[in-house]
Symmetry: C2
Subunit: 575 residues, 2 copies
């Protein structure tokens, strides 16, 4: 059985940064070559970043991407890496638009490609067949599906190559390429993190390996891109279902593994499958250290996703620092801890903005948090700023409550305008669901670290993060009192969230049924919830759509995040 | 040749309001019956409103829609209208999800249907074949395409029935249904207004009528739904390309026309085409008045679209009134005039919010506007509200400029919270493109009437609206000075827009090339623009994406509106 040394490069591309993303691939190729790899594969769209959305309909962007691939091939050659076959993902085009079947994407001029580079040239190219057009994905809008299949012959081994969704669908290219009797299936991916996605993704890879009796190598990009966090977690599974190698989640990594692969057979190529034979790589090295990373528990995975999503939004958009309001409550405390883990406490600015209704503990809990974390901390009392406006406009009731939140928004935006901080808005998913926030007030900000985290999970994460600190002998970042006290917006005297909302255990459960599971009113009630509460909650959800549309983006960690995952009208009159 | 009296009901549905939308159809059926119609057709999704977006993935919503159609059939029968065949558009399901070809919508459980009601029952049903998945449309995400065709035999005439996009695509259901030798083709539509769309849509209907030598009846819904404005403009064209009837744009209307249709032939039915024979309608009336509406000129169409989009957002969401800031500038003046045309000046509240930098004319022009239009008018000086914040936070430069805009936003939101007004934000498309606005300041609001109107067109519309008033002997609403003076944000002394932006003629032309025509930097420069200006403008556009994502919705009037039409990443680093 031939032995093939495979390297999978888990790179962290920035959308649009063709040069910088290519640098990452050159770096991976250098390391792969130094370790004697016979083949390197990086993720789907590693050249352009993912998702490129409607950049795929800009002809100049496609032409630039096409050229970037050719330039990368030359550069690998120039740097003495030309022998190493490198599989890279990228958009390609512009092509003539084509109308396809019963769906219509008359504007699609791009393909989602995997190119194979060697000796300064593109030796072969594959275009993704199956285009996901659900959840956060809009690929049928922007891509023309491929119709040719590709098998690479490398060191006497046949290597089939597909892209992401191609692996998920039964039949189609997967079964056709398997008919070619390949010994190794390489799948390049841009697959975003979702809580429990690993419970779907790894079993899928395993099932494909076993049902085809083939080694499957799955390489994923890593990093935050707007609301998506790609978690890496690249993995190689053999035909018995054993994991041969696995890269860590949420980190750039080069995974190298020696594979004993069935040699190429004399099998005839099925229709529309091309075979391209590559020269052997001349790199060599004796020993290879193969990682089999283990996944941490659910809460740690979520925390890491939020940290990486926040860090990459800050870094990829060039912000020097972040600023956020610290109310002493659980949400802002968790956001501050996340931000400090993401970019270090030195780049985090917290502002306590007490009003006449703020409790003593709101101030002292914020003080404690700032000290625990070691972030920059200041206090801006708002009473004297609120009063002139309240008086001149004669604001009362909700109008006066919202005014306080909006003055706080103005303070953070003002300080951001002075010093270039990114403003973090600290609302959680439960709040966003029911619209329990002041638009242009506490919702003001460019990034919302916990927007996809329901309130009950916010508490869980806070406790987990404190336990982690304790286990490391560090000061737990989040004050116990912020975790234990009843949540309150403190916009009027002695207010608590439960004055106007059901208990959070019930609220989160109803929201999960209505939003994530898409149940209607009757079906939610049938789960055992009080009809009046269900009506109250679902109406709040429907009415808050306009606020959500104007909300900041934040990292998706669930199977149903607000944003591209859930597209609903604002104008909606349930009958 | 048999004569068929056809009625097309241009209704204005509200998304989700199954009962209210059904009422509209019953009303149309009553009037059609009174006029002796043999057949009534209303628009695509007239039962549910359009677009329903991901409501299509909520099983209870589909089941409710299905029942609403059955209930409507019964109700028509109960009201003595059972004889009249009525074609209605609606979503149907839930069905088992199916994976389709190379595109994937594993979550789609709905179909986009046209049902034929008579004698209290659904007599036949057609499901749309071609699902648009481009521009603002996401139908492949949410619908399963149909695969059966339908021909109705009514009074000895074969009537083929298709839905919207089915008409646009060559081949497929259109050619198959034409092989059935139908004498009349009914197309039900939900086709939103776009500037110059009539130059595409009417020629298409005409081309289809001529190439199939068949009468084509095209019925469209009307009304605003979030950012889309459906313009009606239902039309009937015969096989010679002559317009036999045409409904007015932007109005609910019942179009009735007598058609001399070729009788059914003995042609064999092509594969997967079903024929359903309906009983003759017993309604009769002697005379029918057929309208052939003419389209007004471009500016009037756009004005009407903005008016209807604004009106329906207000009415369908139940707002008692609107409020907006009046700066004396052209944008807020045009928005005030639009709002008054939409819901009457009695429901429009204008607030002048002068600062220490406001010119005398900004106040006096706003006064004049308020008087011309007759809206509610108040003045809230902001200097005393700005000063305490500016002082406490030591804000200077842009931070201090933005503060003024944000205080104005706070005032409007505060008054909205007190009295329930919808806040209109008055930014134009040019501003939104380059981010020339203060987020949470002048961008605050629930609806943006001119967000898809470039600055040059704002001026054109202002002049046109004033001319219209003059031609009617009314007071022109927009003060001449607001049109003629150089535009300025007045956030610092003697500021004008052209201090920081290229002249609007050039700016709008570059934006059109970069945004609407999707040209890259080099291609824009090749049109003859200065490279430095092109770089400056395109960078501003790219960097303002985060602000646009948080912006209010507003009526789409162009082929490339911000929002669902143009989906681009925030995190984007062009290389």
């Amino acid at each position: 059985m031939p032995r093939l040394r495979l390297a999978l490069g888990q790179t962290n591309p920035v959308v649009g940064d063709l040069a910088g993303n290519s640098d990452q691939i050159v770096d991976a190729a250098k390391r792969a070559s130094a370790q004697g790899a016979d083949l390197l594969a990086v993720g789907e769209m590693a050249i352009s970043g993912y998702p490129i959305e409607d950049l795929a309909s800009r002809p100049s962007f496609l032409a630039d991407s096409h050229r970037a691939v050719e330039r990368l091939a030359k550069r690998l050659q120039d740097e003495g890496l030309g022998d190493l076959p490198v599989i890279v993902g990228h958009p390609d085009g512009p092509f003539e638009p084509r109308l396809l079947g019963t769906s219509n994407a008359p504007t699609a001029i791009a393909q989602n490609c995997a190119s194979v580079l060697q000796h300064g040239h593109v030796k072969a190219r594959y275009a993704k067949h199956h285009l996901p057009n659900y959840a956060v994905f809009d690929e049928y809008r922007i891509f023309i599906p491929g119709d040719e299949l590709l098998v690479l012959r490398i060191r006497g081994v046949d290597v089939a190559l597909i892209v992401c969704e191609d692996l998920w669908r039964d039949g189609g290219p997967l079964s056709r390429v398997m008919d070619a009797d390949a010994g190794l299936l390489v799948v390049i991916n841009a697959s975003p993190f979702e809580r429990d996605k690993d419970e779907v993704r790894l079993p899928l890879v395993t099932r494909r390996a076993v049902e085809t009796d083939t080694i499957v190598a799955y390489v994923n990009i890593v990093g935050g891109q707007d609301d998506l966090v790609f978690d890496g977690d690249s993995v190689v599974v053999d035909g018995t279902g054993s994991i041969l190698a696995r890269a860590p989640q949420f980190e750039e990594h080069l995974l190298v593994v020696d594979l004993d692969v069935a040699g190429a057979t004399g099998a005839e190529l099925p229709e529309s499958v091309a075979r391209v034979t590559l020269a052997d790589s001349t790199a060599s090295a004796d020993v290879v250290r193969t990682d089999i990373a283990t996944l941490p528990d659910d809460r740690e995975q979520i925390w890491n996703a939020l940290v990486l999503g926040t860090r990459d939004y800050v870094e990829k958009n060039g912000f020097p620092s972040v600023i956020l309001g610290l109310s002493g409550g659980i949400d802002s405390s968790v956001c501050a801890a996340l931000a400090a883990d993401a970019i270090g406490p030195d780049r985090v600015y917290g502002v306590s903005m007490p009003s006449r209704y703020s409790s003593d503990h709101s101030r002292s809990d914020a003080d404690d948090l700032a000290e625990n974390i070691g972030l920059h901390y200041s206090v801006e009392a708002i009473a004297d700023l609120v009063l002139p406006i309240e008086t001149q406009l004669k604001l009362t009731g909700t109008a006066a409550e919202n005014l306080q939140a909006r003055i706080r928004g103005i303070i953070l935006m003002g300080l951001s305008n002075l010093d270039g901080h990114l403003v973090l808005t600290t609302g959680n998913k439960t709040e966003l669901s029911v619209g329990y926030s002041t638009i242009y007030g506490d919702s003001a900000g460019g990034f919302a670290p916990i927007k996809d985290v329901p309130k009950m999970l916010v508490w869980e994460l806070a406790r987990w993060r404190n336990e982690l600190a304790a286990s490391r002998g560090e000061v737990p970042p989040i004050p116990e009192n912020s975790i234990e006290k009843p949540p309150s917006a403190e916009l009027r005297p002695d207010q608590t969230d439960q004055d106007s909302l059901p208990p959070y255990e019930i609220l989160d459960a109803i929201l999960d049924a209505y939003i994530t599971r898409k149940l209607g009113r009757e079906d939610v009630i049938a789960l055992g919830f009080d009809a009046e509460i269900v009506d109250f909650v679902t109406k709040l959800v429907d009415r808050a759509e306009w606020k959500r549309r104007q909300g900041a983006i934040g990292p998706k960690i669930s199977g149903m995040a607000f944003g591209r995952d859930r597209r609903l009208p604002i104008t909606y009159r349930p009958s």
